[in-house]
C-alpha cells in the first residue's frame, strides 16, 4: 500500500499503477474522457489534470506513475480553468468539422458529430480485439476517426461492440434496444453461447432484454465480448418462441396444460418401459442448459427411468478430449486456464479457429502473439490466427495423429524433451521411443501434406519455448482418430514437461457454454456427476438418491440412434438439442427419430427435430430467464442469473424435469430451486464441495474446489496426476480416414462454425446476426473454383456417399486446393445430410471434419 495525500486528506491506496488509479481508489471524483481500465493510458483528453507537490506544472493523473508520499491536488481554481479551456477547445473542434454518420451496421450506429477525439475506439479495437478497424485520419483541426472501409459494414469489423462499450459520448451507439430506452436494471449472468463463458451484464427495462454489456472485472472475458454475446440476444423475444406445452395427436399439435403434458409424458414413457424395459428409454441433455438442469436430467434417467441411457451433445464435440485426458492424466478436463494464454511463451493452436468460434479467447491469443509469444497454428485452412503465427502447418484433414507423432519424434530424436519431468512423472518412455522411431518427419510429411522441415521447426518451437500451452478444438476431436489426436497432443505436452505448471497445458476449447458442465454432471452413460465412473460412484449415489442404480451399461448418443433403428430404443427425451440438424448423416438420423414411439422435446423453439418428430413439446426458458451455474472450458463454474421472468408459460429445464419426475411418482425431486440442486451436487462431488452459490457470486471458481476455503484450481496435475504419480506415454498409431478423396469424390469437405452463427442456428438465426451472415457458404480455393467452373455466389450441390446439400460458393484463398469448407448453421441447407457415419471408436464422436464429396452446379 502507498500513503498519499489527496486534496489535503491522507489515504492508503494500492501500490503501483497511476495517480488516477490512486484517486479512483480513494473515491475522489476526477473527470476523464480517454481513460478505460482495459487500455494503456494515453492521456489525450487532458481532463484528469492534477497538481502534484514538487512538480512544476499540472500533469495528467492517468499517465503519471504513483509514488509513495505523493501530495495530490485534484481540484483548484487553476485546474478548473484549465479543464474548462480544454473542454472549450473540444467543443470548438466538434463544431468546425464535418462528421461521419454511418448506419450501415445492424448493431452499431456511428455519429461522429459527438466524437471528442479520445481515441478509445481506436485503442480498444487494436489493444483488445486486434481488428484495427478504426483509424485516425487527417491532421490538426481536420483529425477524424473513420472505419477502414467505405462503411463500417464493409470494413474489417467483427461487430464485437468493444468500441461502442468504451465510447464516452455516444458517437458510437448500440442500435438494438434504442427504441425501448436505456435499461433500468442490470443483471450479471453468463453468455448463452460458446464454452469461453464470458460474464455479461444483461440490461432490462419493462420486462424486455434491451442491452448487454461486458463485465470489466470478469476473469474470463476481461471486459470483452463478441458479437454473439454482446448483440445476439433477441432470440429470447422471437415471435415464434413456444411458451405453452403441446402434445401431438394425429399429426396436429394441441396446446395443453403443464399437468396434462406431464400426464401424457408419464403415461407414454411408462408404457415404453413396461413393454420394452427401462433401457428402451433414453435421455439427451443439453450443453446449453445449466449444471443443475443437466444433473437433474441424468438423475431422472438413472433414478426414475432406471437406465444409464443418458448423454449430451459433448458426444458430438469434445467427448474425445475428455476420454483422452481421463485416460492419460486422469481427469477429463482442461489442464490449465485461459490465463495461461498470457503466461505461455509458446502457444500451439491445433484444429481450432478461435477468432471465429471462441472469439474472446481468439482475441486474447492474437494479442499474446502480437506481444511476442510464439504461435504455431496447425489447421488445414489459413485461419485468421495463421497471419499472426510464427508457423502455420496446413495439415491435410484427418492426419493430425501422424503430424503430432512426427513432432514427438523430433523432440526425442533431438533431445529436446524435459528429462527431469519424463523421469519423475511419466512411464513407458522406452516403448514410446521405439514406436516413434518409425515416425520421422519425412514419413508424416507425405501423409500430412506438410514439408518435413516445417514439422521439425514446429517441434523445436514448441519444445524449446517453455512454458508452452496448447489449445485445440473440434479439428482434433471430430475425426475417426479423435481420442487418439488428443492423446497425441497430450504426449507432446508430457515429453516437454508442459503439464501441471502455469503457462502450459492441454486445453480443449469447448464449443458450448456448458459442454464441460453437462458431461461433468454425469450426462454420459459411463460416468456419474463429478465425472466418477458408474462403478466407483454407485454406492455413494445410491445412498444419496435412495434408489438402486441400473446395472446394464448405457448407450451413447449415436448408439441411442442406432438402437432406435433396430427397435431396442423406443423413447427419447431431448432437452435443448436439435438432433436432426446437429448430427451427421441426416438421413440416418431422420430414420432413427421416425422409428421412435415417443419423442419428448424440451426447447425454446419448435426445432426441426421437434417439428418433424416430437410427440410432446415442453417449452423451456432461456438462460436469461433462469438461475443456475455454467462450467466453462477452463473448469470455471459461474453463476447464471435470471434477468427476465420466463416467457409465457415456459419453465426452467430443471423445473420441467423435476415436475415430470414427480408426476411419475418419483421421490427426491422436490428441490426448492437451483441452489438446492447444486448443494446436492456439492454433497456428492468432492471437487464441488467448496463452491457454494455465495462463493460463486463474483467471477466463479475453477473446479476442483474441495473446501470452503479453497481458492479453486487454475492448474491441474501440478504435483501429481489425477490418475496417479505417473502418466503413461501411449503410442498412438495412425489410421487413415475412410473419407480420402477418390476419382468419384475428389474433394474433402470440412465443416465448421462462423463468427456470426452458432451451431443449428436456433438462437443466432433469430437475431440480426442473420443479416451479417445470411446464409451458409461453401468456401472453395481459387484454383479449384477455376477448374470446376464455380464463381463467387454460384449455387453448388455438394454430394457425398450419404446425401446432398445445396449452398452458395465463396471463393476463398484460405482453403487449400482439394479441400472445401462449409458452415452448418442454416436449417434450409442442412449440411449434415452430407456428413458421414464415421465415428471415433472410443467415444462414438462423429467424423464431421472430413467427408469425401464431389460438386455439381445446382
Amino acid at each position: 500500500m502507498a500513503r498519499v495525500t489527496i486534496d489535503g486528506r491522507p489515504y492508503e491506496v494500492p501500490d503501483g499503477g497511476s495517480v488516477l488509479g490512486a484517486v479512483r481508489a480513494a473515491r475522489v471524483r476526477l473527470p476523464t474522457l480517454c481513460h478505460d481500465p482495459r487500455l494503456a493510458p494515453s492521456g489525450v483528453c487532458r481532463l484528469c489534470l492534477v497538481r502534484i507537490a514538487g512538480v512544476a506544472r499540472a500533469v495528467t493523473a492517468c499517465t503519471t506513475p504513483l509514488a509513495d508520499g505523493m501530495d495530490i491536488v485534484t481540484a483548484s481554481p487553476e485546474l478548473a480553468a484549465a479543464r474548462r479551456g480544454i473542454l472549450r477547445m473540444l467543443a470548438a473542434r466538434r463544431r468546425s468539422r464535418a462528421a461521419l454518420i454511418d448506419e450501415s451496421h445492424p448493431y452499431i450506429r456511428v455519429d461522429m458529430s459527438r466524437c471528442v477525439d479520445c481515441y478509445r475506439c481506436v485503442q480498444i479495437c487494436d489493444e483488445v480485439q486486434g481488428q484495427f478497424v478504426w483509424h485516425v485520419r487527417g491532421r490538426g483541426l481536420d483529425t477524424r476517426i473513420e472505419p477502414d472501409g467505405a462503411s463500417l459494414r464493409e470494413s474489417a469489423c467483427v461487430s464485437c461492440g468493444a468500441c461502442v462499450d468504451t465510447c464516452p459520448t455516444g458517437a458510437l451507439e448500440d442500435r438494438l434496444g434504442a427504441a425501448h430506452g436505456a435499461p433500468d436494471t442490470w443483471t450479471r449472468t453468463v453468455c448463452p453461447y460458446c464454452g469461453v463463458g464470458c460474464e455479461l451484464d444483461a440490461g432490462t427495462r419493462d420486462g424486455r432484454l434491451v442491452a448487454v454489456r461486458p463485465v470489466i472485472d470478469s476473469p474470463v472475458s476481461r471486459g470483452h465480448l463478441c458479437v454473439k454475446g454482446r448483440y445476439a440476444f433477441d432470440f429470447v423475444a422471437a415471435g415464434d418462441r413456444v411458451t405453452e406445452p403441446m402434445v401431438r395427436g394425429r399429426g396436429a399439435w394441441r396446446t395443453v396444460t403443464w399437468d396434462e403434458a406431464y400426464a401424457v409424458v408419464a403415461a407414454r414413457l411408462g408404457d415404453v418401459i413396461r413393454r420394452h424395459g427401462a433401457d428402451a428409454a433414453a435421455v439427451l441433455t443439453s450443453a446449453r442448459a445449466t449444471n443443475e438442469d443437466n444433473y437433474v436430467a441424468q438423475k431422472f434417467a438413472r433414478a426414475v427411468l432406471g437406465t444409464h441411457n443418458v448423454d449430451c451433445c459433448a458426444r458430438v464435440c469434445h467427448a474425445p478430449s475428455a476420454a483422452a485426458l481421463r485416460r492419460v492424466v486422469g481427469a477429463g478436463l482442461a489442464t490449465g486456464s485461459f490465463d495461461d494464454i498470457e503466461r505461455a511463451a509458446t502457444l500451439l493452436v491445433c484444429g481450432a479457429n478461435p477468432t471465429e468460434s471462441h472469439p474472446v479467447v481468439g482475441a486474447r491469443i492474437k494479442q499474446a502473439a502480437r506481444r511476442g509469444a510464439r504461435l504455431i497454428v496447425i489447421d488445414p485452412r489459413r485461419i485468421e490466427l495463421a497471419a499472426y503465427a510464427d508457423l502455420h502447418l496446413a495439415v491435410r484433414p484427418g492426419t493430425n495423429v501422424a503430424l503430432l507423432n512426427a513432432m514427438a519424434h523430433v523432440v526425442l530424436a533431438e533431445g529436446l524433451g524435459d528429462r527431469a519431468f519424463l523421469a519423475a512423472r511419466t512411464s513407458g518412455l522406452e516403448e514410446f521411443r521405439r514406436f516413434l522411431d518409425a515416425w520421422p518427419p519425412s514419413r508424416a510429411a507425405e501423409i500430412c501434406g506438410v514439408d518435413a522441415a516445417s514439422i521439425r521447426r514446429a517441434a523445436v518451437l514448441y519444445a524449446t519455448g517453455a512454458p508452452a500451452t496448447s489449445v485445440h478444438g473440434l479439428g482434433v476431436t471430430e475425426h475417426v482418430q479423435g481420442t487418439d489426436g488428443v492423446a497425441a497432443l497430450i504426449n507432446l505436452a508430457l515429453l516437454t514437461g508442459n503439464i501441471g505448471r502455469p503457462g502450459s497445458g492441454v486445453n480443449p476449447l469447448r464449443g458450448q457454454n456448458n459442454v464441460q458442465g453437462a458431461a461433468h454432471m454425469g450426462c454420459d452413460p459411463g460416468v456419474l456427476a463429478g465425472s466418477v465412473p458408474v462403478d466407483q460412484g454407485r454406492v455413494a449415489f445410491e445412498r444419496q438418491w435412495g434408489v438402486a442404480l441400473p446395472s446394464a451399461h448405457g448407450r451413447t448418443l449415436p448408439q441411442m440412434l442406432d438402437g432406435a433403428i433396430d427397435g431396442s430404443v423406443r423413447a427419447l427425451w431431448i432437452m435443448g438439442y436439435d438432433v436432426l440438424l446437429s448430427n451427421p448423416d441426416a438421413a440416418a438420423t431422420a430414420q432413427a427419430l421416425a422409428a421412435l414411439d415417443v419423442v419428448v422435446v424440451q426447447d425454446l423453439f419448435l426445432t426441426e427435430t421437434a417439428r418433424d418428430y416430437a410427440s410432446v413439446f415442453l417449452p423451456a426458458c432461456s438462460s436469461f430467464e433462469k438461475d443456475g451455474t455454467f462450467m466453462n472450458a477452463e473448469r470455471r463454474v459461474q453463476r447464471v442469473r435470471a434477468a427476465l421472468a420466463p416467457r409465457g408459460g415456459s419453465k426452467a429445464d430443471w423445473q420441467i424435469v423435476c415436475e415430470a419426475a414427480r408426476a411419475m411418482g418419483a421421490g427426491g425431486f422436490d428441490y426448492a430451486g437451483p441452489e438446492a440442486i447444486w448443494d446436492e451436487v456439492r454433497a456428492l462431488c468432492a471437487g464441488a464441495r467448496g463452491m457454494t452459490y455465495a462463493r460463486l457470486d463474483r467471477g466463479g471458481l475453477q473446479w476442483p474446489c474441495p473446501s470452503l476455503d479453497h481458492p479453486g484450481t487454475a492448474t491441474l496435475h501440478a504435483e501429481t496426476f489425477a490418475r496417479g504419480p505417473r502418466a503413461v506415454l501411449e503410442p498412438v498409431p495412425y489410421r487413415e480416414s475412410s473419407q480420402t478423396p477418390s476419382t468419384e469424390y475428389p474433394f474433402q469437405l470440412i465443416t465448421g462454425r462462423t463468427l456470426y452463427q452458432f451451431n443449428a442456428g436456433t438462437m443466432t438465426g433469430r437475431t440480426r446476426n442473420a443479416d451479417l451472415r445470411p446464409a451458409d457458404l461453401l468456401d472453395i480455393s481459387p484454383d479449384d473454383a477455376a477448374r470446376v467452373g464455380v464463381g463467387e455466389g454460384d449455387a453448388v450441390r455438394v454430394i457425398s456417399r450419404h446425401g446432398t446439400a445445396v449452398l452458395g460458393a465463396h471463393v476463398d484463398a484460405t482453403v487449400a486446393p482439394g479441400q472445401l469448407f462449409a458452415t452448418f448453421h442454416q436449417p434450409a441447407v442442412r449440411l449434415n445430410a452430407v456428413t458421414g457415419e464415421g465415428r471415433d471408436p472410443v467415444t462414438g464422436t462423429p467424423e464431421y471434419k472430413v467427408t469425401a464429396v464431389r460438386l455439381e452446379h445446382a
Binding site: 461521419l100 454511418d102 483509424h135 462503411s151
Partner: protein, 200 residues
C-alpha cells in the same frame, strides 16, 4: 434464415459534406526502376521495422503517378506488409501526399508567420487571380496547382513559394504573374533557385 422484419441499412455519409474516399484508380505497380529503388531503401531498416519505409514508398508511388490512388496505396501496403487502411492514415496526415491529380507544377505558398507578415496572402491572391483558381485547385491547362502550406523553413527569404521541390524566395506579389509566364514558357529553367545553392 432471418426471422426478423427486413431492416434498411443506410450507407455511410458525412454530415455537412461528402466523405472523400480515395480515388480507387486503375492497376498500380511500381516500375522496375522504382521497385529497385524501394528494395534498396527498405534494406536500411531492420526486417521487423519494414513499416519505417512507408514515406519513401509513398513518395515513389506519387512520383510515378503524380498522385496517390487507392490502388497505389494498396500496392504500397503490399510492399510494406501492412493494411491499405494503415497507408491511408499516413497519406491523410501528410499534406505533400496528393489524393487528387495535381498540375505539373505545384505552387506551395507558405502562410506561416514571417511569410504572412511579408505578404504571403497577397501572393496567394495574385496566383489565384493569374490562374483563375482557388486554393487546392488546378488550372485549366493542368499545369499549375495552388496549395497553402505551413512553414517551409525559409523565413529569412520570406515570402517563399515552393514549386514542386524547389524554393522561390522573396517572391513579391507583383512578380507572380511574370514568374508563372516564365515557367509556362521555359519550364524548370525559369526557376530562380535557392540562395543556398547560388551562394555556394
Amino acid at each position: 434464415m432471418s426471422f426478423h422484419p427486413k431492416m434498411e441499412y443506410a450507407p455511410a455519409r458525412f454530415h455537412k459534406s461528402a466523405r472523400t474516399l480515395p480515388d480507387p484508380g486503375g492497376d498500380f505497380t511500381y516500375t522496375a526502376e522504382n521497385q529497385a529503388k524501394f528494395d534498396a531503401n527498405v534494406q536500411r531498416y531492420p526486417p521487423d521495422q519494414r513499416k519505417s519505409a512507408i514515406l519513401y514508398a509513398l513518395y515513389l508511388a506519387q512520383r510515378q503517378q503524380g498522385f496517390l490512388t487507392r490502388a497505389a496505396m494498396a500496392h504500397v501496403a503490399g510492399q510494406i506488409r501492412c493494411t491499405t487502411a494503415d497507408v491511408e492514415d499516413v497519406v491523410s496526415y501528410y499534406t505533400m501526399f496528393y489524393t487528387k491529380p495535381v498540375g505539373t507544377y505545384v505552387l506551395n505558398v507558405c502562410r506561416t508567420l514571417s511569410c504572412a507578415l511579408l505578404g504571403a496572402e497577397r501572393v496567394t491572391e495574385a496566383i489565384s487571380e493569374k490562374l483563375g483558381i482557388k486554393v487546392g485547385e488546378t488550372d485549366a491547362s493542368g499545369m499549375f496547382t495552388l496549395i497553402e502550406v505551413e512553414c517551409l523553413g525559409a523565413c529569412d527569404r520570406a515570402p517563399v513559394v515552393m514549386v514542386n521541390d524547389d524554393w522561390e524566395e522573396r517572391l513579391a506579389p507583383e512578380q507572380v504573374g511574370e514568374f508563372i509566364d516564365h515557367v509556362r514558357a521555359k519550364g524548370r529553367a525559369a526557376f530562380t533557385g535557392c540562395h543556398l545553392h547560388k551562394e555556394k
